[in-house]
Subunit: 668 residues, 2 copies
Amino acid sequence: MKKEYAKLWLAYSPRKNNRDCAALKKIRVAGAPASDRISQSAVSELKNGLSAMLDIETEVLFDSDTAEVRSITSGKDLLEVESYSISLVETGLVIEAGGPAAFLYAAFDILRTVSCEKSIADTYAEKKTHRPSDPLRMLNHWDNMDGSIERGYSGNSFFYEDNEIIIDERTKDYARLIAAVGINGVVINNVNVKDAASYMITERYFEKLARMGEIFADYGIGLYMSLNYASTIEIGGLDSADPLDENVIAWWKEKMAEVFRRIPTLKGFLVKADSEGRPGPFTYGRTQADGANMLADIVKEYNAIIIWRCFVYNCKQDWRDRKTDRARAGYDNFMPMDGDYHDNVILQIKNGPMDFQIREPVSPLLGGLRKTNQMLEVQIAQEYTGHQIDVCFLIPEFKEILAFKTYCKEEDDTVADIISGKTFASRYSGIAAVTNTGNDLNWTGNYLAGANLFGFGRLAFENELSSAQIAEEFVRMTISSDESVIAAICDILLRSREIYEKYTSPLGIGWMVQPATHYGCSVDGYEYDRWGTYHRADHLGIGVDRSDKGTGYALQYNEPNASIYNDPGKCPDELVLFFHHLPYTHVLHSGKTVIQHIYDSHFEGYEEARGLAAKWDTLKDKLDEEIFENVRERFERQLVNAREWCDQVNSYFYRKSGIPDEKGREIW
Amino acid sequence: MKKEYAKLWLAYSPRKNNRDCAALKKIRVAGAPASDRISQSAVSELKNGLSAMLDIETEVLFDSDTAEVRSITSGKDLLEVESYSISLVETGLVIEAGGPAAFLYAAFDILRTVSCEKSIADTYAEKKTHRPSDPLRMLNHWDNMDGSIERGYSGNSFFYEDNEIIIDERTKDYARLIAAVGINGVVINNVNVKDAASYMITERYFEKLARMGEIFADYGIGLYMSLNYASTIEIGGLDSADPLDENVIAWWKEKMAEVFRRIPTLKGFLVKADSEGRPGPFTYGRTQADGANMLADIVKEYNAIIIWRCFVYNCKQDWRDRKTDRARAGYDNFMPMDGDYHDNVILQIKNGPMDFQIREPVSPLLGGLRKTNQMLEVQIAQEYTGHQIDVCFLIPEFKEILAFKTYCKEEDDTVADIISGKTFASRYSGIAAVTNTGNDLNWTGNYLAGANLFGFGRLAFENELSSAQIAEEFVRMTISSDESVIAAICDILLRSREIYEKYTSPLGIGWMVQPATHYGCSVDGYEYDRWGTYHRADHLGIGVDRSDKGTGYALQYNEPNASIYNDPGKCPDELVLFFHHLPYTHVLHSGKTVIQHIYDSHFEGYEEARGLAAKWDTLKDKLDEEIFENVRERFERQLVNAREWCDQVNSYFYRKSGIPDEKGREIW
């Protein structure tokens, strides 16, 4: 018998609390027309969800069916139509919505409250306005049309198979799942656009894409596609992709007219150009801005946007070369054109200057760029963070990134401020995550990795939520209502990222992973390779000198960050090897030497991972067997991985430094 | 236009010398019946070859058509029927042959003399008997039935495509090519028998295999197949492969009766069991002898043999474990059963205890086993020696191996003696090479790699030939008759192995290669892995202690080898890190420290590789353009590879040891 895929936080089983809550039986809605497609989704979600959880019938009353839906031509507009408040009055709950999407989010808010068994009366006693933190809250799928997923750890794509687009019940359930956590945009194909994916903007796929766009639109989700920058050559029959070439421009104009006519719900494109072998404007001696603006100008009339990735660096570096610094590349490539990008272009900036390591400084482009629309890119696909085998709840990391003070202004200078749009009054801004889903029945491989999908959406909508709140919501909604179970799993989730960091690469140096797969330890795996990812360890010390005496990367930050990072005496321990080459005997702020920190953190990390696994084992009788076994089996693999990391890193540095562990533990 | 594959040493273009040689016009043959299939091949080769090279017509006269062909039931029989002499008498050349195959070899001897433009009169003035050094002279193909080749660097298989067997003109030309250098047996499929290859002993392939066997038989080449030890389970429908199980034995009896009836030319099987995931008798608590003997007893009535590989080791070792030693495994697994193997079983022993590294000691099984038929296995596929990109002429290495004194007896104790059969009067013995061919037009990827195919055959037939003689024959027969060109290419070939050793892993330690591909440097690539292949380098020293204080491997040798290897003061420099863990400051016999040897050999190796490439470049105008360009392009890649090896090894050990190069050269 073929098993059903999990419904995750939409699996509305009966709940004990709020069963007699009269307020849930009559819900009034203001600000959203009843006839709107999204309003209809909201009504249906509310009625079905409350009925399933509480066995009640809910009446939804609209104040007016003629409420005008504001047209959206900026991030600010988006925020308006997606803001809602819920309040409790005598007749029942009242939703005041900025528009239909806001009503949908309010509906999911109520369902979440019920699902978490929080009291309706308490939760909505005080009227509170929920305004999304970020206008664009997107997921980026790295799904290929052959069904594979680049950096996918949860099976194959549920969007594609054998170069065809799949539209089925799961398409809708996926839209429901991510709308429920506040996502309002999805890029449905890999940024590395090749093979069949280059033909997504042709007749071959229009019909299915249009259908997918409609399904998404019912849930307030914008459809976006990754674009092959060289389409003019690869499918257009031209011999150029020069953004200033008239033939190129003419081709794109005609092509975009066709695409937006055939896929009316389409909101824009994501482009990876001039990176890791992808073509781009550099080929023609043009700037990144030339490339982005050309496309943006053309799609403007369709009220669409171009999201342009800043992941541009030299991926054929010579490891002998200590002057070139991959960390500098984003800033060096994009800062000189700050202000040149047209106002429907958004630069999408990875959180760190390298590539989604477990610890990196925040990209200096965030707080560097002042006249350019910006979007933060994070990765919930656990490429470098355990492949959804190892538990690694990433929300604490994202919160640190959002809270990072860039000092680009006197106030409102955090990353959160910038991507919310308020720092520079950006026309568009937001946050995107490279997603972690696949066609596994539980969507994310490791069941606990679902917390990253859930959490990313929740955090993007409400930056002020704590990691603990998010973890608890996830566990309550998807795993258990048993308080001891909730406490145990939240503890596992909340400690997992620190533990993963401890047993992998130390003090911000990153990498040390198996090349290509990026799972498992290989201290020298990238040390003599072309990717610009080095630790430079010798018998005396380790780290990359990115201070003013080295590559100068530290100076790309605003003050005082630049001075802090530039000085090993001030630089935070967790990043000190990212910025400095230090002797193993250098004493950290923690009072430990670098080498002793390496030993201690690795022994602790492995030990603590064992602790997490043991804690999970205690839940055996309290959990659904499938969930228990799914995670247990992954913990088994995580412990093998953690032990290898621990022993290989310790052995490598002991053999190299000759400095013994103060505590005399076994190192090979 | 589809290009023709190269004819290599059978590409008989007109030759200047011997054009008026009357002796070549009338050749008398004794000892081989005219009607024999091999005799007919010999006649045709002689006539065609001499006609093409010298434009003469040759008459071949047989002393008798009734000469009896000796039946072959031992290696000694083989040697008899393959021995020949050639002498010059007044009427012309006279061949005295032990049988038809001997006549064929004599024919190729004459053709080679003419092709090399040596004087017939001088060469055959004195009658000399040519008796093959080794009874079995085999090639092992690691060709898979899907057309891929495990460790193949010359295109795909010319035996298989899409799980079908290919029989065409090339099949015959392949037989001619290898017969011309004295090969008398070919194992046509990968020792890792999987998928379709498991069905080679079924109806599905019998017809084509029978045809292939006939083509081979015309050239005196025995057909052999690799066997899936678990055939009883995989294709037989039994639930066991226990060699003592009556059902298993009965199945094999019936199967072998069918196989030998359908493929009458079949000479036997090669078996890799209990190794790297392959099934074997260990699974059933049986010995390797139990497994081999069961099959051997069954094939005995077809006068066939079972060749059993000794490559049995634990491939899931823990790198932390310093007691287990992969080098010990062959001896530990096979010595206890010396004498237990039946007399149509041959153990096939890799030349070294590890796996075809550029430098290893000779396996202690050779000279250890005294009551067991033995065959030496070498590898001309350049798995660890440059992938047929880097030039690496292996004949000098093979000659060292053959000359190795095992001290198993007072005299006749070299490896060459053992595998010739004379040391222990073995019933069967010989030498096999994992071959380097594929369907590339030039057969071996790098044109110069053809010298290893040519040379292996020539050396197997005549151990006393020098590397220089073999190189010269190859160059004269396949590339040029220009003396300056011959001298240059011979110099390149003869220096290539030492140079490859210099820029790769030092002093016998081996490995340090990129995992999986085995091309390119990765000093720690296997250091923390499960394959038993470690260098154990730390900040003070490097090497594996295999002395009596370490794993004890050195003691597996007969004296005085054991004492020599056991003592770092006596152990030859080139193997010293294989047997000992030594400080970088240890002074070698050469007078250099270990670390300075590493630096010097690597800088020299890279520099000398550049010298070889530069020498090749000087030949541009004197060579066939295709050959020139084929090798030039590979030299380009070799230099990239050699530089990476040089710089990575030097940087790794400098960073680890902190000891600078005495000569102050650039290390990163």
